[in-house]
């Protein structure tokens, strides 16, 4: 992780890949997003390496989701650029998998868990043909990976929150992407799901994928990421979590006493 244009520089690159010798998998350059008269993100310059997990940490409204949407290409930034393997991103690509927050979905939709997972690939298939058996097998394998295979025929709304989250991760796996963006993947899910999601993300990282997740859970940001980015419309700090998640940095990100509580937990 290298950042530019921010007061706190990090020369340390955790993870297995030496960052400065390899071109980043994804990169934002002086990215800014403005909604009408309000600025949501300002001057964000970040690199995301292959085989590296980055956590985006910040309070509500810090722009975590906005940054993920820019990385995915759904949202066009007002200023600056986003690059994927050196190519400017104009529109969403299937090589970037995005797991949005769960609340965006129509839970009453008459669709099975297996068909939801298959969405990760159906749009690339021939519309005149049925879904290929290979895709079906891959979808079942992805469900196996998140331990949801036995729920394949169940209607999606019948699952618990944690189970639904696992299904969406399986859908992202089916996309065969090299970048995975996850918006609050651990919030509102049960402990076994948290453990499982962490394990899946770790497998992806070891397979050389780039992972970026947004969270407001500092423990999660520290425990399960190679790089932490403290975000509050601007990058407050970025780098190895133990260096970034300091009392002073957390105070300037979250402000007030919340930072002290949080810092107490992280330093423990």
């Amino acid at each position: 992780m290298t950042i530019t244009g921010t007061p706190i520089q990090s020369s340390v690159t955790p993870g297995s890949t030496p960052a400065n010798s390899v071109a980043p998998r994804m990169q934002t350059v002086r990215l800014g997003v403005h909604f009408e008269d309000r600025s949501a993100l300002d001057d964000i310059s970040l690199d995301f390496q292959a085989g590296e997990t980055t956590s985006l940490v910040g309070p509500n409204g810090a722009g975590k989701s906005t940054l993920l949407r820019c990385l995915d290409g759904i949202l066009a930034p007002t200023h600056g650029e986003v690059f994927h393997d050196g190519h400017l991103i104009h529109r969403p690509s299937p090589r970037v998998a995005y797991v949005p927050q769960r609340s965006d979905v129509d839970w009453k939709f008459p669709i099975s868990v297996l068909d939801v997972v298959l969405m990760g690939r159906t749009l690339r298939g021939n519309r005149l043909l049925r879904v290929p058996d290979q895709d079906r097998r891959d979808a079942l394998a992805a469900l196996d990976q998140v331990r949801m295979r036995r729920f394949a025929p169940v209607q999606i709304g019948a699952l618990s929150g944690g189970q639904q989250q696992r299904v969406f991760i399986a859908r992202a796996l089916l996309q065969q992407a090299d970048v995975f963006l996850l918006d609050e993947p651990f919030s509102g899910v049960d402990a076994p799901t948290q453990t499982l999601v962490l394990q899946v993300l770790d497998d992806l990282r070891l397979a050389g994928k780039t992972i970026v997740f947004a969270t407001h859970d500092l423990a999660m940001a520290e425990r399960s990421a190679d790089v932490a980015v403290l975000l509050n419309r601007r990058v407050v700090a970025a780098g190895r979590p133990s260096r970034v998640l300091t009392v002073r940095n957390l105070q300037s990100t979250f402000g007030g006493t919340a930072a002290f509580d949080a810092a107490g937990r992280t330093s423990a």
Partner: protein
Amino acid sequence: MTTLVSYLSEPLQHAFMRNAFAAIVLVGVICGAVGVFVILRGLAFMGDAMAHAVFPGVVISYVLGGSYLVGAIVSATVVSLAIGAVTQSGLLRNDTAIGVFFVGAFALGVAIISTQQSYARDVTNLLFGSILGVSREDLFLTALVGCCVLVALWLSRREIVIGSFDRTFARSQGLNLWGWDQLFLLLLSLTIVISLQTVGNILVLAMLVTPAAAARLLTERLSPMITVSAVIGAASGLIGLYISYYFGVSSGASIILVATAIFIVVFLFAPRTGIITTRIARRLHFEHPERDQFLDLELDEEAAGSRA
């Protein structure tokens, strides 16, 4: 038994009744299939609006003697774009925009047709349908347009499903949601146009919504839902038409009343969702909890999760 057969076959001796039966089965199947997507997208009000929006186009082409199909598509497109423009402005909610434009369009149709001498009869035919006046040509056109709609719907099934289920994911896959929405609204307006003569402008909404709503209560999967909805649509049409023939009731109204009755029966007695059947099932569950397989699944899953 022979009396039942003769009751059922008697109306079929008349050519106009044969046409009417063929027309209502076609319309029932097409509306049933398209209606599934109408209710899944939460477009019931938009469907109502489109049914009224085609009215001025139909009236103008009727007055000028052109193809009412073209007139209907033009006016439906204009109204849907107007609704889209007001919604996109972000100043008003979508349903408010719909409310403004569909009644406006409808009033335009009424204003134009009221200048015609045969006003009362024409307006009744357009509003409530005149199924007994369906000609062979009408039937052919209905079948042709209906097939096009169903084929287009089938070809765009993946985009429409993903766009209805999870719009954020659809965007992240690079889908042009606006374009697919407009395509669906076009298919919807075509469906409405070919239903005008059989059930009329006002009752077509029920053909779109009611069979699909009943089908949703009967199945948890999309393909069977479309089949069930089409069957309910066609069955309501057939039964309603017989009732209309023997009891002298307005055909459009009796068809819709049959569909509504089917919905109410399903709502009360559907195997999994019926409010009476679930009450019985719950009582059985308390007596024999070991029979509830789904609960077992969840417990197994929790056990598997805690081992992880």
